[in-house]
């Protein structure tokens, strides 16, 4: 191995390592009860609680429902993986392997993204089958789901950074962040009808831009224009990933 070949070889090795982490997470965590409860049951019950007894057409609710499913599912995997592995001490095996912390976290983010995008497609197919909703722009829908899943999964990995004696503590923290943002992101009430303070908070939630993209994809009016939503989701992903890496490194350096 020459010195010049090392960086490229290392880079390829890290990408491969991230893919191994994705496979490991899928095998171990997709069917864990906390993921299923907070990732699948939560959005179903929220949807029912919002829909029942209210004069809203099912078609109008489809974009919000898909976005909500994406929000909960994509951000459910990250907060589970690292705390679970820290408790089982398997985390030490990962960080003492040649795979870098960045690649491990990228693997966790991609795991959450695949889980979220996959389950939200199930929700989407159900909605298309059971309602008269129709997709006006498949490309926009695809972009909304993929970029939304990526940013939500990054948020999930960031939330997993603090050391905790039990994974349930991190799940609690993640819900303290996810639930308030859910209510100010225009899923249940359009952002332009929300109080002023909520309209100030809405732009700092990646869910707001995802809802806007998915509404636009279904031909419905959206609070944020597409030209803003797309780069904002990319920016959220970059910032959340950077913060996740910084905090995970910080806690690792402290030996926690």
């Amino acid at each position: 191995m020459t010195t010049h070949a090392e960086p490229a070889q290392t880079w390829r090795r890290q990408v491969h390592g991230a893919c191994v982490i994705v496979r490991k997470n899928a095998l171990l965590y997709y069917l864990k009860p906390p993921v299923l409860i907070f990732g699948v049951l939560f959005p179903v019950f929220f949807f029912l609680a919002f829909k029942m007894g209210r004069p809203i057409s099912a078609e109008d609710m489809v974009p919000g429902m898909v976005a909500m499913a994406l929000w909960f599912t994509a951000s459910a995997v990250g907060p589970l993986v690292t705390p679970w592995e820290r408790r089982a001490r398997t985390y030490e095996r990962l960080i003492s392997s040649p795979v870098s912390l960045t690649a491990i976290l990228a693997g966790d983010v991609i795991s959450g993204m695949i889980f979220g995008a996959g389950l939200s497609v199930v929700a989407l197919l159900l909605a298309l089958t059971l309602t008269n909703a129709s997709i006006a722009s498949p490309a926009l829908l695809l972009a909304g789901i993929l970029l939304g899943a990526l940013s939500f999964a990054s948020l999930g990995v960031l939330l997993a950074a603090p050391p905790a004696s039990s994974p349930s503590n991190i799940m609690l923290l993640s819900n303290l962040v996810r639930l308030p943002l859910l209510f100010v992101s225009g899923i249940f009430v359009p952002i332009h009808r929300m109080p002023v303070w909520a309209r100030w908070i809405a732009p700092i939630s990646p869910l707001s831009y995802t809802v806007a993209l998915i509404r636009s994809a279904f031909g419905q009016p959206a609070y944020f224009p597409t030209w803003l939503s797309l780069p904002m989701l990319v920016a959220f992903t970059a910032v959340l990933m950077w913060a996740a890496r910084a905090f995970h490194r910080l806690w690792r350096a402290r030996g926690l």
Partner: protein, 307 residues
């Protein structure tokens, strides 16, 4: 050929606590290097720094010529690690556990399958490869850990208390495999509390106490270096007659009763043996047993650590 491990001024603090204090040592390729120390001495912290689990506060180390801070991934690529707690993935099968570690190290498919099969056979787990790791006992999980560490064909194997709490069969099996691999060139870094294990397995040892290295040498040299703890063991047919006069023999610093005879502590056990023979002859005593003893590694350890 670079040293397997070179450690320079490695230091780690946790808040105000200095856990590892400017530690220096070198492990040559092909050695079985024992790292000994009482609880809280800094052994595990040192190993965690070398294996990339935590960062040093100061100093550095190279593994296989790669700096752990400048080239962390490359330095870890040389390592196989068996921690004290067998932290296998309980919900993965034995085979999946082994393949996962091989994949993380980028071992090609054909090689990892071949090595995985061979290792499971070698540790007696081949028939259980499809079982979940959850069903294994502690000893069997430790054997599985050894497989996950060795499937990557490491240059250096870190063993942290590998036989702690294991039955005799598992302990012997692990020792045999480690010795065989060492003969083939594998460098082993063994952290242990078990002085018998260190004495019989390690080619060199370092003793760490309160975060600092207090001795580094071969077990034999460390034992020999403690001249004041060498002693002569003698048993007479009629011990009571000899009792008052032994301490007056030339070169004897202390006499204690033990095992029906006496221990004569001396820095010159050979000369004292001659004196004892003369003494017995003069007193008309019959010597039933006479031998010279060096301190055990455990005694050396106690001497250096005060524990």
């Amino acid at each position: 050929m670079p040293a397997a491990i070179e450690v320079h001024g490695l230091t780690r603090t946790f808040g105000d606590v200095l856990a590892v204090d400017h530690v220096d040592f070198l492990v040559e390729a092909g050695e079985i290097f024992g790292f000994l120390g009482p609880n809280g001495a800094g052994k595990t912290t040192t190993v965690r720094m070398l294996t990339g689990v935590i960062d040093p506060s100061a100093g550095t180390a190279t593994i296989g010529g790669h700096d752990i801070r400048a080239e962390p991934s490359l330095s870890r690529a040389h390592l196989g690690i068996v921690p004290e707690d067998a932290n296998v993935y309980l919900d993965l099968s034995l085979w999946q556990n082994i393949m996962l570690m091989a994949q993380l190290h980028g071992v090609p498919r054909a090689e990892r399958v071949r090595e995985g099969e061979r290792l499971l056979e070698a540790v007696g787990l081949a028939e259980r490869k499809r079982q979940k790791a959850r069903v294994l006992s502690k000893g069997l999980r430790q054997r599985l850990m050894l497989c996950t560490a060795l499937v990557t064909s490491p240059d250096i194997l870190f063993l942290d208390e590998p036989t702690s709490g294991l039955d005799v069969q598992s302990t012997r099996l692990i020792h045999r495999i480690v010795r065989d691999l060492n003969r083939e060139g594998l460098t082993v870094f063994l952290t242990t509390h078990n002085m018998h294990e260190a004495e019989h397995v390690c080619s060199r040892v370092a003793i760490i106490n309160r975060g600092r290295i207090v001795a580094t040498d071969t077990p034999e040299h460390l034992r020999s270096a403690m001249q004041s703890s060498q002693y002569l063991e003698v048993v007479f047919s009629e011990p009571r007659l000899a009792d008052p006069d032994l301490e007056s023999l030339a070169g004897v610093s202390e006499v204690t009763a033990a095992d029906g005879g006496y221990r004569l502590f001396t820095e010159t056990p050979g000369r004292v043996a001659v004196e004892v023979a003369r003494f017995a002859d003069a007193k008309g005593l019959e010597i039933a047993h006479l031998c010279t003893r060096k301190p055990s590694l455990e005694e050396v350890f106690v001497q250096f650590t005060g524990q």
